[in-house]
Subunit: 337 residues, 2 copies
């Protein structure tokens, strides 16, 4: 029997907890530690923190990464923030401990355009230790970038790429329903957008990845965030949205070259969305469309994509990698490294 991959979970919020529960099911993985600064979690058993039925696991959540990373660790799964500048110290600490990293930090998915200096720093640090890191999840990391590039392999020429993700937020957790502004007035929504509170992160990263993958030069990448206004009452497990109130977000990202859209990405995430789906369209030779009817579930799929990337990041060339370079697939429950 091969040795198990020793993993540490860095950040035990909702996504981190979902990842931990999934990792526990993968026989090829051994969870050897967890890090979370939250005093409500630090010092407690990880299995209990993530509400696992088979808790306690005998793995304690630590407030500080140093002690956890001092032990032999192969991969850190990192889920603490969407902003790369916020997590630089955490990532560098993992890398300098000789660990590969899979992070759900959206800005890490393709950071070269927005954060060229931080990208270079991470790449150098990873290469120095002979390890690799990648930012991934369902979006960015899968539906709006990896799927676009995979589909493009069947095209002789691509002139324009579009990705649309429509999510019915009714079935998602309260935290997400609030995050998209469900139940707010349009004015409250706009104030929250202006304050940077309401925003899905990752569209510019997906656009930059797709542009490089398709060989598109772009003059600029733009983003807009508008509210979806409810036209009828929508009730979810947690809240109720009246007609005229905000049901969620309608976010558009554009990759523009010489005044023309070369890449168009559209995220509709609202309670009561009627036809949830992930769709990729390529115009060129030939035109190609790919659809996942119903769409990929954000939390389930993000946990899946992150955990399934563990094997690929261990096998990857040292440095800062992206899902553009990595082959994707599942880490089977019975797989060995």
């Amino acid at each position: 029997m091969r040795k198990k991959i020793r993993v540490v979970q860095f950040g035990v919020g909702p996504i981190g907890a979902s990842i931990v529960r999934l990792m526990r099911q993968k026989h090829s993985l051994e969870i050897v530690g967890a890090v979370d600064k939250d005093p409500a979690k630090a010092g407690r058993d990880l299995g209990e923190v993530v509400r696992a039925k088979d808790a306690p696991w005998g793995v304690t959540v630590s407030a500080a990464a140093a002690s956890v990373l001092a032990k032999p660790v192969d991969v850190v799964v990192h889920t603490t923030s969407s902003y790369l500048p916020n997590v630089m110290d955490e990532l560098l600490e993992c890398l300098s401990a000789g660990c590969c990293v899979v992070s759900t930090c959206e800005e890490l998915a393709y950071p070269f355009r927005k954060h060229p200096e931080l990208s270079a720093k991470l790449d150098a640090a990873a290469k120095e230790e002979g390890v690799a890191l990648v930012g991934t999840g369902v979006n960015p990391g899968f539906v709006m970038d990896k799927l676009v590039l995979v589909l493009s392999a069947a095209a002789q020429r691509v002139d324009f790429a579009k990705a649309t993700r429509i999510v019915d937020a009714s079935k998602r957790r309260l935290q997400l329903q609030k995050k998209i502004g469900a139940g707010m007035t349009p004015e409250e929504f706009r104030a929250q957008v202006a304050a940077g509170v309401i925003k899905h992160h990752g569209l510019p990263e997906s656009i930059a990845m797709v542009a490089d993958g398709l060989g598109f030069a772009l003059d600029e990448i733009t983003e807009t965030i508008e509210p979806v206004i409810a036209t009828e009452t929508v009730k979810t497990e947690f809240l109720e949205v009246a007609p005229g109130q905000v049901a969620g977000v309608y976010q558009i990202g554009r990759g523009i070259w010489e005044g023309e859209d070369k890449i168009f990405m559209e995220l509709q995430m609202y309670v009561g969305a009627k036809h949830p789906a992930d769709t990729v369209e390529l115009r060129g030779e030939p035109n190609l469309t790919l659809t996942i009817p119903g769409g990929t579930h954000g939390d389930i799929a993000t946990a899946a994509v992150a955990v399934n990337a563990i094997q690929a990041i261990l096998a990857a060339t040292a440095g800062l990698r992206t899902v553009r370079d990595l082959p994707l697939g599942i880490l089977a429950p019975n797989a060995t490294p």
Copy 2:
């Protein structure tokens, strides 16, 4: 400006010609030679053989590979046969000349189960020269294997995988319409199946790749080929099929474990197919479906997938690779290696 990738086309049949025309459009590639034993092609200008508008190209088709491979060549695109034993000498000659190889030989797409010794021989030969080779195309190589594995990255657990490819052969070339038995009586069809003439190659290879990628143990892989019988008259550009005659093939591949289907692949390729599409279904946590409505066009997409793999095979670790390991994407017209 970066140096162009120097490519040789080995085999200038319909798929080879389609690949050559596509490679001509990619500014990152330079076609430096071509090989075909057919006396109707050898000695002629490649551009003229593939009926390019800008012919002649000043590249002559050679009957023998040796002289072509004696020059500096980076990658050979190989399209001569579906059977691995038939092409071993050709592949070994390319590898020993220090060339990477992208081949549309269906049995090369995932040869480890059917041809373990030949696989080992190719892997060793490639490693000795520090080059890589891969078998790919649209099927095997894309819709029934790569797409299945890519989609599985969004799944926490997969219990069963299904791929369905429905092709309307009405719009395909005469050679293909004949190859699927269109216009035959059911008896003629069965005789041609028994003689090994009517058969799409690649289902067992896709099944083996998916099984390994999903971590499924399989007891056996089975295949059946049945005729699709026309229920109404179907006219194509080339032929007419009367009710009761064969419209095409209905081929099923199964990956079976302990008497149960773990993988089910279904290829319907017939004239008059009403709802052409490529569809992947995964059952597990969660269930996931992915569809390409209309499906990928066999010839266009096979040429695309093969040409688009050129960059990936050059960047790959030496040895026998498969699309399971390689990241897929497009070789942009303006891309540089």
